[in-house]
Amino acid sequence: MRKLWNNYRYLFFRRFTQIGLLVLYFGANAWGWTILMGNLSSSLFLNVVPLSDPYAMLQMLAAGAVLASDLLIGAFIITLFYLLIGGRAFCSWVCPVNIVTDAAALLRRKLGVDRISKRQPATRNMRYWVLALSLILSFAMGVTAFEFISPISMLHRGIIFGLGFGWAAMLIIFLLDLFVLRNGWCGHICPLGGFYSLVGKVSLIRVQHLKENCTACMKCKVVCPESQVLHMIDKESLPVLSGECTNCARCIEVCDDDALEFSIRKLAKNKNIGE
Protein backbone atom coordinates (compact mmCIF):
# COMPACT_ATOMS: atom_id res chain seq x y z
CA MET A 1 0.00 0.00 0.00
CA ARG A 2 2.80 2.32 0.96
CA LYS A 3 4.61 1.52 -2.27
CA LEU A 4 1.43 2.11 -4.22
CA TRP A 5 1.08 5.58 -2.69
CA ASN A 6 4.74 6.28 -3.26
CA ASN A 7 4.56 5.28 -6.91
CA TYR A 8 1.35 7.11 -7.77
CA ARG A 9 1.08 10.03 -5.38
CA TYR A 10 1.74 12.77 -7.93
CA LEU A 11 -0.43 11.03 -10.51
CA PHE A 12 -3.24 11.06 -7.97
CA PHE A 13 -2.77 14.76 -7.27
CA ARG A 14 -2.63 15.54 -10.99
CA ARG A 15 -5.86 13.72 -11.72
CA PHE A 16 -7.35 15.40 -8.67
CA THR A 17 -6.54 18.92 -9.95
CA GLN A 18 -7.48 18.10 -13.54
CA ILE A 19 -10.85 16.65 -12.64
CA GLY A 20 -11.38 19.06 -9.74
CA LEU A 21 -11.01 22.07 -12.03
CA LEU A 22 -13.45 20.56 -14.51
CA VAL A 23 -15.94 19.93 -11.70
CA LEU A 24 -15.65 23.56 -10.59
CA TYR A 25 -16.20 24.80 -14.15
CA PHE A 26 -19.04 22.36 -14.69
CA GLY A 27 -20.69 23.42 -11.43
CA ALA A 28 -20.47 27.06 -12.48
CA ASN A 29 -22.47 26.38 -15.61
CA ALA A 30 -24.85 23.76 -14.23
CA TRP A 31 -25.53 24.96 -10.69
CA GLY A 32 -24.34 28.55 -10.68
CA TRP A 33 -21.23 28.07 -8.51
CA THR A 34 -19.07 31.17 -8.50
CA ILE A 35 -15.71 29.68 -7.48
CA LEU A 36 -14.40 29.28 -11.01
CA MET A 37 -16.57 30.39 -13.94
CA GLY A 38 -15.90 30.19 -17.65
CA ASN A 39 -13.43 27.67 -19.01
CA LEU A 40 -9.71 27.23 -19.63
CA SER A 41 -9.73 29.88 -22.36
CA SER A 42 -10.79 32.54 -19.89
CA SER A 43 -12.36 32.37 -16.48
CA LEU A 44 -13.39 34.40 -13.49
CA PHE A 45 -12.09 33.23 -10.11
CA LEU A 46 -14.37 34.00 -7.14
CA ASN A 47 -16.30 36.50 -9.25
CA VAL A 48 -13.34 38.91 -9.17
CA VAL A 49 -10.03 37.67 -10.55
CA PRO A 50 -9.86 37.30 -14.33
CA LEU A 51 -7.74 34.44 -15.69
CA SER A 52 -7.01 34.12 -19.41
CA ASP A 53 -5.09 31.87 -21.72
CA PRO A 54 -1.99 33.87 -22.77
CA TYR A 55 -1.64 31.86 -25.99
CA ALA A 56 -5.20 32.77 -27.01
CA MET A 57 -4.30 36.38 -26.22
CA LEU A 58 -1.27 36.17 -28.51
CA GLN A 59 -3.48 34.90 -31.32
CA MET A 60 -5.93 37.74 -30.72
CA LEU A 61 -3.05 40.17 -30.86
CA ALA A 62 -1.90 38.65 -34.15
CA ALA A 63 -5.45 38.77 -35.50
CA GLY A 64 -5.59 42.48 -34.73
CA ALA A 65 -8.20 42.46 -31.98
CA VAL A 66 -8.46 45.26 -29.45
CA LEU A 67 -7.30 43.72 -26.16
CA ALA A 68 -9.47 44.52 -23.15
CA SER A 69 -7.86 45.18 -19.76
CA ASP A 70 -9.53 42.16 -18.10
CA LEU A 71 -7.96 39.95 -20.72
CA LEU A 72 -4.52 41.47 -20.27
CA ILE A 73 -4.67 41.13 -16.48
CA GLY A 74 -5.92 37.55 -16.78
CA ALA A 75 -3.21 36.53 -19.22
CA PHE A 76 -0.58 38.23 -17.05
CA ILE A 77 -1.67 36.31 -13.94
CA ILE A 78 -1.62 32.98 -15.78
CA THR A 79 1.79 33.65 -17.33
CA LEU A 80 3.22 34.62 -13.95
CA PHE A 81 1.76 31.49 -12.38
CA TYR A 82 3.37 29.17 -14.92
CA LEU A 83 6.64 31.06 -14.75
CA LEU A 84 6.69 30.03 -11.09
CA ILE A 85 5.52 26.44 -11.16
CA GLY A 86 6.88 25.31 -14.52
CA GLY A 87 5.51 26.19 -17.94
CA ARG A 88 4.14 22.86 -18.95
CA ALA A 89 2.68 22.16 -15.53
CA PHE A 90 -0.44 23.28 -17.37
CA CYS A 91 -0.16 20.24 -19.62
CA SER A 92 0.16 17.61 -16.92
CA TRP A 93 -1.77 19.19 -14.06
CA VAL A 94 -4.61 21.09 -15.74
CA CYS A 95 -5.21 20.13 -19.37
CA PRO A 96 -7.94 17.46 -19.67
CA VAL A 97 -6.49 16.11 -22.94
CA ASN A 98 -3.57 14.86 -20.83
CA ILE A 99 -5.87 12.18 -19.38
CA VAL A 100 -6.66 10.95 -22.90
CA THR A 101 -3.05 10.96 -24.10
CA ASP A 102 -1.75 9.39 -20.86
CA ALA A 103 -4.24 6.59 -21.36
CA ALA A 104 -3.04 6.13 -24.95
CA ALA A 105 0.60 6.14 -23.81
CA LEU A 106 -0.14 3.54 -21.11
CA LEU A 107 -1.91 1.27 -23.59
CA ARG A 108 0.90 1.79 -26.09
CA ARG A 109 3.45 0.59 -23.51
CA LYS A 110 1.27 -2.37 -22.55
CA LEU A 111 0.80 -3.39 -26.19
CA GLY A 112 4.52 -2.96 -26.80
CA VAL A 113 3.99 -0.83 -29.92
CA ASP A 114 7.45 0.71 -29.58
CA ARG A 115 9.07 -2.71 -29.41
CA ILE A 116 7.68 -3.53 -32.87
CA SER A 117 8.95 -0.33 -34.44
CA LYS A 118 11.19 2.06 -32.59
CA ARG A 119 11.43 4.74 -35.22
CA GLN A 120 9.39 7.88 -34.60
CA PRO A 121 8.24 9.41 -37.89
CA ALA A 122 8.21 13.03 -36.74
CA THR A 123 10.21 15.59 -34.80
CA ARG A 124 9.12 17.06 -31.50
CA ASN A 125 10.01 20.49 -32.85
CA MET A 126 6.87 20.29 -34.95
CA ARG A 127 4.93 22.02 -32.15
CA TYR A 128 6.99 25.19 -32.63
CA TRP A 129 6.19 25.14 -36.33
CA VAL A 130 2.50 24.75 -35.51
CA LEU A 131 2.83 27.58 -32.97
CA ALA A 132 4.38 29.89 -35.55
CA LEU A 133 1.86 28.81 -38.17
CA SER A 134 -1.06 29.54 -35.83
CA LEU A 135 0.16 33.09 -35.32
CA ILE A 136 0.77 33.62 -39.04
CA LEU A 137 -2.70 32.30 -39.89
CA SER A 138 -4.25 34.43 -37.13
CA PHE A 139 -2.57 37.46 -38.62
CA ALA A 140 -3.47 36.62 -42.21
CA MET A 141 -7.09 35.62 -41.61
CA GLY A 142 -8.00 37.95 -38.76
CA VAL A 143 -9.31 35.19 -36.50
CA THR A 144 -7.77 33.25 -33.63
CA ALA A 145 -6.60 30.35 -35.79
CA PHE A 146 -5.86 27.67 -33.21
CA GLU A 147 -8.88 28.46 -31.05
CA PHE A 148 -11.15 27.41 -33.92
CA ILE A 149 -9.63 23.93 -34.21
CA SER A 150 -8.21 23.35 -30.73
CA PRO A 151 -9.17 19.86 -29.49
CA ILE A 152 -8.18 21.05 -26.00
CA SER A 153 -10.87 23.72 -26.00
CA MET A 154 -13.23 21.29 -27.70
CA LEU A 155 -12.84 18.86 -24.81
CA HIS A 156 -12.92 21.17 -21.81
CA ARG A 157 -15.61 23.35 -23.35
CA GLY A 158 -17.43 20.16 -24.28
CA ILE A 159 -17.38 18.83 -20.75
CA ILE A 160 -18.68 22.13 -19.37
CA PHE A 161 -21.10 23.24 -22.10
CA GLY A 162 -21.88 20.14 -24.20
CA LEU A 163 -19.57 18.02 -26.32
CA GLY A 164 -21.29 17.60 -29.72
CA PHE A 165 -18.95 15.78 -32.06
CA GLY A 166 -15.99 16.74 -29.88
CA TRP A 167 -15.60 13.10 -28.83
CA ALA A 168 -14.45 12.33 -32.38
CA ALA A 169 -11.49 14.69 -31.96
CA MET A 170 -10.57 12.89 -28.73
CA LEU A 171 -10.79 9.51 -30.45
CA ILE A 172 -8.50 10.75 -33.23
CA ILE A 173 -5.94 11.99 -30.70
CA PHE A 174 -6.15 8.70 -28.79
CA LEU A 175 -5.57 6.64 -31.92
CA LEU A 176 -2.80 8.96 -33.11
CA ASP A 177 -0.96 8.58 -29.83
CA LEU A 178 -1.63 4.87 -29.65
CA PHE A 179 -0.64 3.73 -33.13
CA VAL A 180 0.90 6.54 -35.17
CA LEU A 181 3.23 8.53 -32.98
CA ARG A 182 4.32 8.11 -29.37
CA ASN A 183 3.14 11.18 -27.42
CA GLY A 184 1.93 12.40 -30.80
CA TRP A 185 -0.44 15.15 -29.77
CA CYS A 186 1.03 16.49 -26.51
CA GLY A 187 4.67 15.86 -27.39
CA HIS A 188 4.76 16.74 -31.07
CA ILE A 189 1.84 18.77 -32.38
CA CYS A 190 0.09 20.80 -29.67
CA PRO A 191 1.08 24.48 -30.06
CA LEU A 192 -0.23 25.29 -26.59
CA GLY A 193 2.31 22.80 -25.23
CA GLY A 194 4.88 24.50 -27.44
CA PHE A 195 3.92 27.87 -26.03
CA TYR A 196 4.21 26.67 -22.44
CA SER A 197 7.54 25.00 -23.31
CA LEU A 198 8.84 28.45 -24.14
CA VAL A 199 7.43 29.87 -20.90
CA GLY A 200 8.89 26.90 -19.02
CA LYS A 201 12.43 27.62 -20.19
CA VAL A 202 12.82 30.08 -17.35
CA SER A 203 10.37 28.75 -14.78
CA LEU A 204 11.37 28.04 -11.19
CA ILE A 205 10.29 24.54 -10.21
CA ARG A 206 12.54 21.86 -11.70
CA VAL A 207 13.08 18.14 -11.46
CA GLN A 208 16.57 17.47 -10.14
CA HIS A 209 18.60 14.36 -10.92
CA LEU A 210 21.01 12.94 -8.33
CA LYS A 211 23.48 10.71 -10.09
CA GLU A 212 24.94 9.18 -6.94
CA ASN A 213 21.58 7.50 -6.20
CA CYS A 214 20.87 6.40 -9.78
CA THR A 215 21.01 2.70 -10.61
CA ALA A 216 20.37 3.29 -14.31
CA CYS A 217 17.17 1.23 -14.33
CA MET A 218 15.73 3.71 -16.85
CA LYS A 219 12.20 3.39 -15.51
CA CYS A 220 11.99 7.18 -15.58
CA LYS A 221 12.76 7.35 -19.29
CA VAL A 222 10.09 4.75 -20.01
CA VAL A 223 7.28 6.70 -18.33
CA CYS A 224 8.45 10.19 -19.34
CA PRO A 225 6.21 11.74 -22.01
CA GLU A 226 9.13 13.96 -23.10
CA SER A 227 11.99 11.52 -22.54
CA GLN A 228 14.50 13.72 -24.37
CA VAL A 229 14.53 16.09 -21.37
CA LEU A 230 16.00 13.31 -19.18
CA HIS A 231 19.26 13.19 -21.16
CA MET A 232 21.32 13.51 -17.96
CA ILE A 233 20.09 10.33 -16.32
CA ASP A 234 23.00 8.25 -15.01
CA LYS A 235 25.42 10.77 -16.51
CA GLU A 236 25.38 13.94 -14.45
CA SER A 237 23.61 15.40 -11.44
CA LEU A 238 21.68 18.13 -13.22
CA PRO A 239 18.29 19.74 -13.00
CA VAL A 240 15.94 19.13 -15.95
CA LEU A 241 16.25 22.52 -17.57
CA SER A 242 14.34 21.93 -20.81
CA GLY A 243 11.06 23.81 -21.02
CA GLU A 244 9.53 20.72 -22.57
CA CYS A 245 9.46 18.94 -19.19
CA THR A 246 5.83 18.94 -18.03
CA ASN A 247 6.64 18.64 -14.31
CA CYS A 248 4.30 15.65 -14.23
CA ALA A 249 6.63 14.00 -11.70
CA ARG A 250 6.07 10.51 -13.06
CA CYS A 251 9.86 10.07 -13.14
CA ILE A 252 10.08 10.98 -9.46
CA GLU A 253 7.39 8.47 -8.51
CA VAL A 254 8.69 5.51 -10.49
CA CYS A 255 12.25 6.01 -9.24
CA ASP A 256 12.89 3.48 -6.47
CA ASP A 257 16.29 4.93 -5.62
CA ASP A 258 15.51 8.57 -4.82
CA ALA A 259 17.56 9.73 -7.77
CA LEU A 260 14.99 12.33 -8.84
CA GLU A 261 13.25 15.05 -6.85
CA PHE A 262 11.59 18.42 -7.20
CA SER A 263 13.74 21.45 -6.49
CA ILE A 264 13.82 25.18 -7.01
CA ARG A 265 15.87 26.28 -9.98
CA LYS A 266 18.39 28.52 -8.22
CA LEU A 267 18.91 26.18 -5.26
CA ALA A 268 19.43 23.26 -7.59
CA LYS A 269 22.10 25.14 -9.48
CA ASN A 270 23.94 26.16 -6.32
CA LYS A 271 23.95 22.60 -5.13
CA ASN A 272 25.49 21.63 -8.41
CA ILE A 273 28.27 24.18 -8.10
CA GLY A 274 28.92 23.10 -4.52
CA GLU A 275 29.81 19.59 -5.61
Binding site: N29, S42, G164
Partner: protein
Amino acid sequence: MKKETASRRKFILNMARSAGIAALGGFVWSAYIDEVTASALTLRPPGAIKEEDFLKTCIKCGLCVEACPYDTLLLAKPGDHKPLGTPYFTPRDIPCYMCPDIPCVPVCPTGALDESSVTTNGELDITVADMGLAVIDDNSCIAFWGIQCDACYRACPLLGEAISVVYEKNERTGKHAFLKPIVHADVCTGCGLCEKACVTEKPAIFVLPREVSEGRAGNYYIKGWDKNDEKRLEQAHEIKTTTNISKNSALDSLNDSEDLY
Protein backbone atom coordinates in the same frame (compact mmCIF):
# COMPACT_ATOMS: atom_id res chain seq x y z
CA MET B 1 34.79 18.46 -44.82
CA LYS B 2 32.68 15.90 -46.59
CA LYS B 3 30.85 15.13 -43.38
CA GLU B 4 30.14 18.81 -42.90
CA THR B 5 28.62 19.11 -46.36
CA ALA B 6 26.48 16.07 -45.75
CA SER B 7 25.19 17.43 -42.47
CA ARG B 8 24.56 20.81 -44.02
CA ARG B 9 22.63 19.15 -46.81
CA LYS B 10 20.65 17.16 -44.31
CA PHE B 11 19.86 20.34 -42.38
CA ILE B 12 18.66 22.15 -45.51
CA LEU B 13 16.60 19.15 -46.55
CA ASN B 14 15.03 18.96 -43.10
CA MET B 15 14.14 22.64 -43.18
CA ALA B 16 12.65 22.32 -46.65
CA ARG B 17 10.69 19.26 -45.55
CA SER B 18 9.32 21.08 -42.50
CA ALA B 19 8.41 24.09 -44.60
CA GLY B 20 6.60 21.81 -47.04
CA ILE B 21 4.61 20.12 -44.32
CA ALA B 22 3.87 23.52 -42.75
CA ALA B 23 2.59 24.81 -46.09
CA LEU B 24 0.33 21.78 -46.52
CA GLY B 25 -0.91 22.06 -42.94
CA GLY B 26 -1.40 25.79 -43.27
CA PHE B 27 -3.43 25.31 -46.43
CA VAL B 28 -5.81 22.76 -44.88
CA TRP B 29 -6.00 24.75 -41.65
CA SER B 30 -6.77 28.08 -43.31
CA ALA B 31 -9.30 26.49 -45.67
CA TYR B 32 -11.09 25.00 -42.69
CA ILE B 33 -11.12 28.29 -40.77
CA ASP B 34 -12.33 30.15 -43.83
CA GLU B 35 -15.21 27.69 -44.12
CA VAL B 36 -16.29 27.65 -40.47
CA THR B 37 -16.15 31.40 -39.99
CA ALA B 38 -18.21 32.01 -43.13
CA SER B 39 -21.60 31.13 -41.61
CA ALA B 40 -23.47 34.41 -41.88
CA LEU B 41 -26.64 33.28 -40.13
CA THR B 42 -25.32 33.23 -36.57
CA LEU B 43 -27.28 35.32 -34.06
CA ARG B 44 -24.97 36.77 -31.39
CA PRO B 45 -25.71 37.88 -27.81
CA PRO B 46 -26.75 41.51 -27.23
CA GLY B 47 -23.92 44.05 -27.48
CA ALA B 48 -21.86 41.86 -29.81
CA ILE B 49 -19.44 43.85 -31.91
CA LYS B 50 -19.30 43.50 -35.70
CA GLU B 51 -19.09 39.80 -36.67
CA GLU B 52 -15.68 40.22 -38.29
CA ASP B 53 -14.26 41.73 -35.08
CA PHE B 54 -16.27 39.37 -32.93
CA LEU B 55 -14.52 36.37 -34.43
CA LYS B 56 -11.10 37.72 -33.50
CA THR B 57 -12.06 39.10 -30.10
CA CYS B 58 -14.28 36.39 -28.57
CA ILE B 59 -12.11 34.07 -26.45
CA LYS B 60 -14.90 31.43 -26.25
CA CYS B 61 -14.96 31.29 -22.45
CA GLY B 62 -18.73 30.94 -22.12
CA LEU B 63 -19.12 33.48 -19.31
CA CYS B 64 -22.02 35.07 -21.22
CA VAL B 65 -23.62 31.65 -21.56
CA GLU B 66 -23.32 31.07 -17.83
CA ALA B 67 -24.71 34.53 -17.05
CA CYS B 68 -27.85 34.01 -19.16
CA PRO B 69 -30.71 33.07 -16.78
CA TYR B 70 -32.87 31.63 -19.56
CA ASP B 71 -30.29 29.28 -21.12
CA THR B 72 -30.79 31.23 -24.32
CA LEU B 73 -27.11 31.41 -25.20
CA LEU B 74 -25.14 28.35 -26.29
CA LEU B 75 -21.52 27.80 -27.24
CA ALA B 76 -21.19 26.30 -30.72
CA LYS B 77 -20.18 22.65 -30.55
CA PRO B 78 -18.63 20.61 -33.33
CA GLY B 79 -21.65 19.66 -35.44
CA ASP B 80 -23.57 22.91 -34.87
CA HIS B 81 -22.18 24.36 -38.11
CA LYS B 82 -21.29 27.61 -36.41
CA PRO B 83 -17.88 29.12 -35.67
CA LEU B 84 -16.66 26.67 -33.05
CA GLY B 85 -16.96 27.73 -29.42
CA THR B 86 -18.59 31.10 -30.05
CA PRO B 87 -21.88 32.02 -28.34
CA TYR B 88 -25.13 32.09 -30.34
CA PHE B 89 -28.84 31.64 -29.85
CA THR B 90 -31.69 30.05 -31.73
CA PRO B 91 -34.84 32.14 -31.11
CA ARG B 92 -37.30 29.42 -32.14
CA ASP B 93 -35.91 27.27 -29.29
CA ILE B 94 -35.17 29.93 -26.68
CA PRO B 95 -35.31 33.63 -27.62
CA CYS B 96 -33.56 36.46 -25.80
CA TYR B 97 -35.89 37.67 -23.06
CA MET B 98 -34.17 41.07 -22.93
CA CYS B 99 -33.26 41.24 -19.23
CA PRO B 100 -33.08 44.92 -18.17
CA ASP B 101 -29.77 44.32 -16.36
CA ILE B 102 -28.28 42.43 -19.38
CA PRO B 103 -26.19 39.98 -17.29
CA CYS B 104 -24.46 38.47 -20.33
CA VAL B 105 -22.68 41.63 -21.47
CA PRO B 106 -20.63 43.04 -18.54
CA VAL B 107 -19.06 39.62 -17.79
CA CYS B 108 -17.33 39.48 -21.18
CA PRO B 109 -13.59 39.67 -20.44
CA THR B 110 -12.49 40.63 -23.95
CA GLY B 111 -14.97 43.29 -25.01
CA ALA B 112 -16.44 41.08 -27.75
CA LEU B 113 -19.71 42.04 -26.07
CA ASP B 114 -19.47 45.79 -25.83
CA GLU B 115 -21.20 47.34 -22.83
CA SER B 116 -21.24 50.81 -24.35
CA SER B 117 -23.34 49.63 -27.30
CA VAL B 118 -26.19 48.70 -24.95
CA THR B 119 -25.94 51.79 -22.76
CA THR B 120 -27.98 54.98 -22.96
CA ASN B 121 -27.24 57.90 -20.65
CA GLY B 122 -24.88 55.83 -18.52
CA GLU B 123 -27.37 53.05 -17.84
CA LEU B 124 -27.68 49.63 -19.37
CA ASP B 125 -30.52 49.68 -21.88
CA ILE B 126 -31.50 46.45 -23.60
CA THR B 127 -33.91 48.22 -25.94
CA VAL B 128 -31.02 49.59 -27.98
CA ALA B 129 -29.51 46.11 -28.43
CA ASP B 130 -29.11 44.98 -31.99
CA MET B 131 -28.91 41.21 -32.29
CA GLY B 132 -30.66 41.06 -35.63
CA LEU B 133 -33.85 42.04 -37.40
CA ALA B 134 -37.14 40.16 -37.63
CA VAL B 135 -38.43 39.68 -41.16
CA ILE B 136 -41.85 38.42 -42.25
CA ASP B 137 -42.55 35.99 -45.04
CA ASP B 138 -46.00 37.30 -46.05
CA ASN B 139 -46.67 34.18 -48.10
CA SER B 140 -46.75 31.93 -45.07
CA CYS B 141 -47.95 34.50 -42.51
CA ILE B 142 -51.60 33.65 -41.94
CA ALA B 143 -52.41 37.26 -41.01
CA PHE B 144 -51.64 38.15 -44.62
CA TRP B 145 -54.13 35.45 -45.67
CA GLY B 146 -56.84 37.21 -43.75
CA ILE B 147 -56.86 34.93 -40.71
CA GLN B 148 -56.77 36.97 -37.54
CA CYS B 149 -53.48 36.40 -35.72
CA ASP B 150 -51.42 38.88 -33.79
CA ALA B 151 -49.19 36.41 -31.90
CA CYS B 152 -45.95 38.16 -32.89
CA TYR B 153 -47.36 41.60 -32.13
CA ARG B 154 -48.43 40.48 -28.65
CA ALA B 155 -45.15 38.66 -27.97
CA CYS B 156 -42.97 41.63 -28.86
CA PRO B 157 -41.31 43.10 -25.74
CA LEU B 158 -41.39 46.51 -27.41
CA LEU B 159 -45.13 46.21 -27.91
CA GLY B 160 -46.46 48.46 -30.63
CA GLU B 161 -43.03 49.89 -31.34
CA ALA B 162 -41.04 47.15 -33.04
CA ILE B 163 -44.09 45.47 -34.58
CA SER B 164 -47.30 47.26 -35.38
CA VAL B 165 -50.47 45.94 -36.98
CA VAL B 166 -51.95 47.77 -39.96
CA TYR B 167 -55.55 47.34 -41.06
CA GLU B 168 -56.36 46.82 -44.69
CA LYS B 169 -59.57 45.95 -46.44
CA ASN B 170 -59.91 42.31 -47.50
CA GLU B 171 -61.12 42.69 -51.08
CA ARG B 172 -61.73 38.95 -51.41
CA THR B 173 -64.58 38.89 -48.90
CA GLY B 174 -65.40 42.54 -49.20
CA LYS B 175 -66.40 42.83 -45.55
CA HIS B 176 -63.37 41.75 -43.49
CA ALA B 177 -60.05 43.35 -42.65
CA PHE B 178 -56.48 42.14 -42.88
CA LEU B 179 -54.53 42.73 -39.68
CA LYS B 180 -51.03 42.75 -41.09
CA PRO B 181 -47.96 42.81 -38.83
CA ILE B 182 -45.19 45.20 -39.87
CA VAL B 183 -41.69 45.17 -38.37
CA HIS B 184 -40.03 48.52 -37.75
CA ALA B 185 -36.37 47.98 -38.47
CA ASP B 186 -35.19 51.00 -36.48
CA VAL B 187 -36.71 49.65 -33.24
CA CYS B 188 -36.46 45.86 -33.55
CA THR B 189 -33.68 44.39 -31.38
CA GLY B 190 -33.79 40.91 -32.91
CA CYS B 191 -34.66 39.22 -29.61
CA GLY B 192 -36.75 36.62 -31.42
CA LEU B 193 -39.75 36.47 -29.08
CA CYS B 194 -41.94 36.91 -32.19
CA GLU B 195 -40.24 33.97 -33.90
CA LYS B 196 -40.81 31.88 -30.79
CA ALA B 197 -44.48 32.93 -30.64
CA CYS B 198 -45.28 32.46 -34.34
CA VAL B 199 -48.06 29.89 -34.76
CA THR B 200 -47.14 28.55 -38.19
CA GLU B 201 -45.35 25.23 -38.54
CA LYS B 202 -42.13 26.91 -39.61
CA PRO B 203 -42.13 30.48 -38.35
CA ALA B 204 -43.36 33.08 -40.84
CA ILE B 205 -41.54 35.78 -38.86
CA PHE B 206 -37.90 35.10 -38.05
CA VAL B 207 -34.78 36.91 -36.97
CA LEU B 208 -31.78 37.26 -39.25
CA PRO B 209 -28.53 39.12 -38.61
CA ARG B 210 -28.90 42.62 -40.03
CA GLU B 211 -26.07 42.00 -42.45
CA VAL B 212 -28.30 39.35 -44.06
CA SER B 213 -31.77 40.84 -43.70
CA GLU B 214 -31.03 44.41 -44.74
CA GLY B 215 -30.17 45.94 -48.07
CA ARG B 216 -28.11 49.06 -48.63
CA ALA B 217 -29.17 51.98 -50.83
CA GLY B 218 -25.63 53.27 -51.22
CA ASN B 219 -24.50 56.84 -51.72
CA TYR B 220 -26.31 57.48 -55.00
CA TYR B 221 -29.64 57.96 -53.28
CA ILE B 222 -30.32 60.49 -50.55
CA LYS B 223 -33.58 61.35 -48.86
CA GLY B 224 -33.79 65.04 -49.67
CA TRP B 225 -36.61 65.53 -47.16
CA ASP B 226 -34.61 64.07 -44.28
CA LYS B 227 -32.12 66.46 -42.68
CA ASN B 228 -30.11 63.61 -41.13
CA ASP B 229 -29.88 61.65 -44.33
CA GLU B 230 -28.94 64.76 -46.24
CA LYS B 231 -25.87 65.11 -44.05
CA ARG B 232 -24.38 62.23 -46.00
CA LEU B 233 -23.97 64.70 -48.83
CA GLU B 234 -21.25 66.45 -46.82
CA GLN B 235 -19.09 63.37 -47.14
CA ALA B 236 -19.79 63.02 -50.83
CA HIS B 237 -16.94 63.83 -53.12
CA GLU B 238 -17.00 64.56 -56.79
CA ILE B 239 -15.86 61.87 -59.15
CA LYS B 240 -14.63 63.28 -62.45
CA THR B 241 -14.19 60.99 -65.38
CA THR B 242 -12.88 62.02 -68.74
CA THR B 243 -13.38 60.00 -71.86
CA ASN B 244 -11.32 60.77 -74.87
CA ILE B 245 -13.68 61.12 -77.82
CA SER B 246 -12.07 60.56 -81.13
CA LYS B 247 -13.74 61.99 -84.21
CA ASN B 248 -12.18 59.33 -86.38
CA SER B 249 -13.48 56.41 -84.45
CA ALA B 250 -17.02 57.76 -84.63
CA LEU B 251 -16.76 58.17 -88.41
CA ASP B 252 -15.13 54.78 -88.77
CA SER B 253 -17.94 53.25 -86.84
CA LEU B 254 -20.53 54.82 -89.16
CA ASN B 255 -18.64 53.87 -92.27
CA ASP B 256 -18.04 50.35 -91.15
CA SER B 257 -20.35 48.18 -93.20
CA GLU B 258 -18.98 44.79 -92.23
CA ASP B 259 -21.90 43.93 -89.98
CA LEU B 260 -24.43 44.54 -92.76
CA TYR B 261 -23.43 41.58 -94.83
